[in-house]
């Protein structure tokens, strides 16, 4: 170690990541130099272009992945061991970028709020003051949300691809910090938006303290942060098992918090309700995906050898998560809150898949979870996009009673929403059915049949509250001076179209995407 050897960074393979993070930095610079007029338009176009470029780069990277000697996966370990560019990573990158593009289109929506975006015109101005009204009047808005969301996306791309715990921790923070900020930037109902930001922030910081303490303990056990080294240490059974178990547990706490699994779910309803709706959709789809990717990677790659130690824990958490999500959703009266609990329930179903078989002939839990995440993301972004559209003079009409009879006043929008509800409920010919199907069969094949029984029961319970919404929309009388459905701009409409089409296609012809998930193969160490 006498001479410093310059590190090698595989720029080509890491290009999606570098494009997104680079674009974020450029976006910040644009913020400083562009005149206010037109800044919104330029930022939107720039962000979308960057994301599309990253998506293309991902496709190119995916095409060039090589088989790894003596392993079932394809890919390589890049950036001095910091990042694993393997099949699952690339698959998640692709899906994440697609979701991000849709979400950014929702971020860009300005028509439904009368020419301004869903974000606060001036976050520093006090709610209800002259300064705030002035900002609204002049059409001033925070275009900083676009660089912020790019940073978050960058963190999400890095999170499930990290090959060592330290990088993973940094990625976790890179994705979390912008989200904390974005949550507090709602234009309407600023107080609850700020409250959501604070709750998310305090609990997020609390959970990342657990996460990093777990990393410290695992480091103490294995003497390395690299997942492969930890795997080797687990296999050779060096060091004290207690350190490993406690470390593993605390790392799980941090990750389960992000996927909003019970009992670490408590932030989800509050934050989902308070955050601006485009951000909620973005979090529900993308954060969940990134966090599940990281969870799978850590537990399969690093702790795969100790799976009989952690599997029961996942069983308990999965059961608890499904039960709490599905049961508590029954009595919710706010549509965003109900969707939040539904997202908790879906996290439970995903954990059921996670409890399944990793290897073997059948569908592996990795593939099933990847597919589920892809399918769920489209429907959930779509559902939140619909929530954005149903408005009354006070902003979004999120109270369920306001949605009564929506099917009569706006059949199209209500129909689209009902379709997403059916997808969440897992009715065949929607992506929800196929994806539930794959995770449950993976779990069954892995011997987790009691969990599958519970999961099927809980999806029946869940179906009830999804149907309740449909009944409310179509079979009850419209409320007096009820909400109206705003006509969105091309951004939201195309995002909705993509979401609907994806939900249909993944239900009828899931083959290609399942193939992709399958070709993603295993993680590379």
């Amino acid at each position: 170690m006498n001479e410093f050897i310059a590190p090698t960074v595989e720029y080509a393979e890491l290009s999606p990541l570098l494009i997104v993070l680079g674009a974020a930095v450029v976006g910040v610079t644009l913020e400083a130099f562009l005149p206010r007029r037109g800044r919104h338009r330029i930022q939107v176009v720039f962000t979308l272009v960057a994301l599309v470029a990253a998506l293309l780069a991902t496709g190119w990277v995916a095409a060039g992945l090589d088989e790894v000697e003596g392993a079932s996966g394809r890919g390589l370990i890049a950036a001095e061991g910091a990042i694993a560019v393997d099949g699952p990573s690339v698959f998640m990158w692709g899906v994440l970028l697609v979701f991000s593009i849709i979400s950014v289109m929702l971020f860009a929506e300005r028509r439904i709020e009368g020419g301004v975006s869903a974000f606060a015109g001036q976050a520093a101005a006090l709610p209800g003051t002259e300064a705030e009204r002035e900002a609204s009047r002049q059409g001033i808005e925070h275009t900083e949300v676009f660089p912020l969301v790019l940073f978050a996306i960058g963190g999400m791309l890095l999170f499930p691809a990290s090959n060592d715990l330290l990088t993973m921790f940094i990625a976790l923070e890179v994705l979390s910090l912008p989200l904390y900020l974005l949550c507090g930037l709602a234009r309407r109902r600023r107080l609850i938006s700020q409250e959501a930001a604070m709750k998310y922030f305090l609990l997020g910081a609390f959970s990342s303290a657990f996460f990093v303490y777990g990393i410290a303990l695992v480091y103490g056990y294995a003497g390395s942060f690299t997942l492969a080294d930890i795997h080797a240490a687990v296999d050779n059974n060096t060091g004290s098992t207690n350190l490993l178990l406690a470390g593993m547990g605390l790392i799980a706490v941090g990750l389960l918090f992000k996927v909003s699994a019970a009992p670490f779910h408590a932030w989800t309803p509050d934050v989902y309700q308070g955050a601006p709706t485009p951000v909620t959709g973005f979090m529900a789809a993308c954060t969940k995906l990134a966090a599940f990717g990281a969870l799978l990677r850590v537990f399969y790659v690093a702790f795969g050898g100790a799976q009989w130690d952690w599997r029961p824990m996942i069983w308990v958490v999965a059961a608890l998560t499904m039960a709490i999500g599905a049961v508590v959703a029954l009595t919710q009266s706010d549509i965003k809150r109900m969707l939040a609990y539904s997202s908790i329930a879906h996290a439970g179903f995903l954990l059921v898949g996670f409890a399944g078989a990793y290897g073997g002939d059948g569908i592996t839990s990795l593939q099933s979870v990847l597919f589920y995440l892809a399918a769920y993301g489209f429907s959930t972004i779509g559902a939140f996009a619909v929530v954005m559209l149903v408005r009354d003079p006070g902003g979004e009409a999120t109270h369920l009673s306001r949605w009564a009879g929506l099917g009569k006043t706006s059949p199209l929008v209500a129909g689209v929403f009902a379709f997403f509800m059916l997808a969440f409920a897992g009715i065949p010919l929607t992506s929800g059915f196929t994806s539930k199907w794959t995770v449950f069969s993976a779990a069954w094949a892995g011997g987790a049949w009691p969990l599958v029984l519970l999961a099927v029961g809980m999806s029946a319970v869940a179906a009830y509250f999804y149907v309740r919404v449909i009944v409310l929309m179509f079979f009850s009388d419209p409320v007096v001076d009820g909400p109206t459905v705003s006509v969105p701009s091309l951004f939201t409409s195309s995002a909705l179209v993509v979401a609907v089409v994806a939900t249909v296609v993944l239900g009828i012809l899931p083959g290609p995407v399942l193939d992709l998930a399958q070709q993603a193969g295993a993680f590379v160490r």
Binding site: M1, N2, F4, I5, P7, V9, L21, A24, V25, V28, A79, E80, G81, A82, I83, Q122, A123, A124, A125, A131, E134, A135, Q138, I140, H142, E144, P147, L148, F151, G154, G155, L158, L166, T167, I170, A171, E173, V174, L177, P178, Y180, L181, G184, L185, L217, G220, G239, S240, N242, L243, L245, A246
Partner: protein
């Protein structure tokens, strides 16, 4: 090891104190104590670089930021220590004790094996060694942490910086405006009258008396008026004072 046994009790006491004291500022200062002791423990454990960073970054910058914000929100703000959420404190202590005991016994007390020591790793100097790792093995994480710092700066700007939306009014414009008001509506040019400052009322809540003896509403702050905290200053007050003073003279 002596250093440890001296500092450890101080740190634990300071940490407990931080949780228990009522004033937030005291908490911050106690946290500073823990952090400085921690820095010393780093030094003891062959981590001179971290020692410096802990003092400069943590104690010097981060903690100062805390103090700064505390001042912003009111430095003497103190918590009531009465628990309002039912059962929270009991449950918190039970769970925390269990958690602490479990971590301490199962994790910290298990033997960690042979202690290698940092003599080998620090051969070229601690800072050089860290630099090799930081710019070699962990270079990507290092680069990505830039994103964190940019986000932080951007976030602080977004949440705290209020942009001026209307052009600033200059002194000259203000003066001109006053003159215009005077000519249009006869609004008084000069400053508002000050509140009554008399022998017995030198308070802002007492209106000034106009030459004709009537109180001037303009002389009182509007918020005081709104709250109803206005004391009466009657003409008689002044006269009786004058009378008293006369008596003294005689």
């Amino acid at each position: 090891m002596i250093v440890f046994w001296v500092l450890a009790p101080i740190m634990v006491v300071a940490a407990l104190g931080m949780v228990m004291v009522r004033k937030a500022v005291h908490s911050a200062l106690l946290l500073a104590v823990v952090m400085i002791c921690l820095a010393v423990l780093y030094a003891v454990q062959n981590a001179p670089f971290l020692f410096a960073v802990q003092i400069i970054v943590y104690t010097g910058a981060i903690l100062m930021l805390f103090l700064f914000v505390l001042m912003l929100v009111g430095v003497d703000s103190s918590d009531s220590l009465v628990e309002t959420i039912k059962g929270q404190r009991l449950a918190a202590s039970v769970v925390a004790v269990l958690f602490g005991v479990m971590i301490a016994i199962f994790v910290a007390q298990t033997s960690v094996g042979v202690i290698v020591g940092l003599q080998g790793a620090n051969e070229q100097g601690n800072v050089t060694g860290i630099a090799y790792l930081l710019f070699g093995r962990y270079v990507f994480a290092f680069e990505v942490s830039a994103a964190l710092l940019i986000t932080a700066a951007l976030g602080a700007m977004v949440l705290a910086h209020q942009e001026r939306l209307t052009p600033r009014v200059s002194q000259r414009q203000l003066a001109e405006q006053r003159m215009r008001d005077y000519s249009d509506s006869g609004k008084h040019l000069g400053p508002l009258p000050t509140p009554g400052v008399y022998a017995r009322h030198n308070a802002v809540d007492t209106p000034a008396l106009l030459p004709d003896g009537t109180p001037s509403t303009l002389s009182l702050s509007r918020s005081l008026q709104a709250r109803g905290n206005v004391r009466a200053a009657r003409v008689g007050d002044v006269e009786s004072t004058v009378e008293q003073m006369k008596g003294v003279d005689d």
